[in-house]
Amino acid sequence: MNINIINRKQYIGVIFLFFLFFLVTISITPLIGSVQIDLEKAFSRDLAFNDNVDANILFLARIPRIILAALTGAALSVAGAILQSLLRNDLAAPFTLGVSSGAALGAVIAISLGLPYSIAGIPTVPIAAFLGSLGAISLVFSLARTRTGDFPTPILLLAGVTANFFFAALVMLIHYLSDFTQSFRIVRWLMGGLDITSYKTLISISPMIFIGFGVLIFYGRDFNVISTGIQSAMSRGVEVIKVQKIGFIMASLLTGAVVSLSGPIGFVGLIVPHIVRLIVGPDLRILLPASIFFGASFLIICDTLARTLIAPTEIPVGIITAMLGGPFFVWLLKRPKT
């Protein structure tokens, strides 16, 4: 029997299929919504933009929202895939480990200090959220790691629950101490959602996200080897400490960037890497780029459901992902292990 390995051509082919799926998703979903829009009218130049209702809905409401859903879905999925691989545990995800709560705490601190979203091009709230994520990962990592460098599921989940409670308590404290205006901003943000956005804020978080993707994909093979065991990976020539640090920092960067805008949206980072892994296998060189496109599409679809299920009322998208994610998580816990 021969060894089948993936070559560059097949690699590009697989990624391209996921890209196509993404392309179809972003082409169709802007047309779906509580208000029917007329594309011809939206692109028509006969009306001034401000008077063109169809164009306003399309370009100012739906498209930025879809871009944010895409960035959020992709970033959380990649962060989830990396956390799962670094902790060698497929129940790890930004949400289950409390990394999202850490990001939330960072963002809430920035908001309550009255910081604008970005100062002189530096996105302050995302960076605060990034630092919060990094703090949460460091906490969970040091709580859950055993002497042999493993992360047993029960301890990892307990560490995640602990981090979640801890950060949630701090968020409540800040909320409690803040004045009425700040309090409103915090509540609005904590509910999570993809509806508050502008092209400017999207552009301000994009560098963080694309740097995260690029760096993580670059180290794909190193992450593969680490997921077979820390010490084995060292013996295979992986600079484990360095790669772990890079992985955790980049996962925090991704989580912080998107959580700062969309609030904590749960379970995306858990579900997407699993589904993609079932399709393409665990090789992160393929899993990561495929998760970018699939994760983006997944959250766009969830958000489209959120916008339309009981239109004109919108459901926060976090409720949709949690309703899918909760049962999925239980299935992961209870499924028979090979």
Binding site: I5, Q84, Y219, T228, R236
Partner: protein
């Protein structure tokens, strides 16, 4: 001194505050087949991890070909030395062939795919370990003996000069034990790969190893040829059981415990 591939000078290691290894020194010549023996908790696994470069000693020095381990880049060291753990828990469903190909990691730069040569090397490593027939299966679905062979195939694909294995035979039945040891013996004879492995079975150790290192509470109790080490006095002292050492007419050394009574 100059001919040794590995020099260990007075290394100490402790987990937290418990000393696990105490002033261990040894020299290893190229092509040796060394068994590390000793009771549970005597420090075998830790010693092998230090020799394999996956743990750093608290004090003392390790030299590979007269160059300190610390002066090697991780990938350089991995091109010369590989360490094979005792157990292989795998969180994800990697295929057997993917696991073997990971042995090529030290030769590849970041984000490259394995090339034709890497596949050839992996293929021949799998041939030698008789693992080709399940190349496309999931690593998590094969048996313990098969897993051990696959991981050794990965180690062979790494093309090391020194291969260190932590109890590669302990969890296996006698057939698989012999199979693994034969693979290592062939590697040792054909490729001159230096082998250091931890073992529990003293009889098999005597059949395959040319040199034994007997550890006792983190110290080298005896280091020498199999005949030197497998004697009544050191074995009884270190393991705390009464034994008979029997040399049969075929030159086998059999350690027979005396009716299950401890000292």
């Amino acid at each position: 001194m100059n001919s040794s591939i590995l020099q260990v000078q007075d290394i100490n290691f402790s987990y937290d505050k418990d000393p696990v290894l105490r002033s261990i020194s040894m020299n290893v010549s190229p092509g040796e087949f060394i068994g590390v023996i000793g009771p549970n908790g005597s420090g075998k696994s830790t010693l092998l991890k230090l020799l394999g470069g996956v743990l750093k000693p608290d004090s003392g020095q390790l030299h590979f070909k007269e160059r300190n381990y610390l002066d090697y880049k991780q990938k350089q060291l991995a091109q010369s030395i590989t360490w094979v753990p005792q157990e292989h828990p795998m969180a994800f469903n990697f295929k057997v062939s993917e696991i073997v190909l990971m042995g090529r990691h030290p030769y590849l730069s970041a984000f490259t795919f394995e090339g034709v040569d890497d596949v050839k090397i992996a293929h021949s490593a799998m041939e030698r370990t008789q693992t080709l027939q399940f190349a496309q299966r999931n690593f998590n679905e094969i048996s313990g003996g098969e897993k051990q062979r696959v991981v050794i195939a990965g180690a062979i694909a790494q093309e090391p000069e020194l291969m260190i294995l932590d109890e590669p035979t302990s969890a296996l039945d006698i057939k698989y034990q012999i199979q693994i040891l034969n693979i290592l013996k062939q590697l040792n004879e054909n490729q001159q790969t230096t082998i250091i492995l931890a073992m529990h079975d003293l009889y098999l150790a005597s059949k395959f190893c040319t040199r034994l290192i007997l550890l006792d509470e983190g110290k080298v109790f005896k280091d020498g040829t199999t005949e030197d080490v497998l004697q009544k006095e050191p074995i009884e002292k270190v393991y705390g059981v009464k034994v008979h050492v029997i040399h049969d007419q075929n030159g086998n050394i059999i350690i027979s415990p005396d009716r299950l009574c401890t000292q």
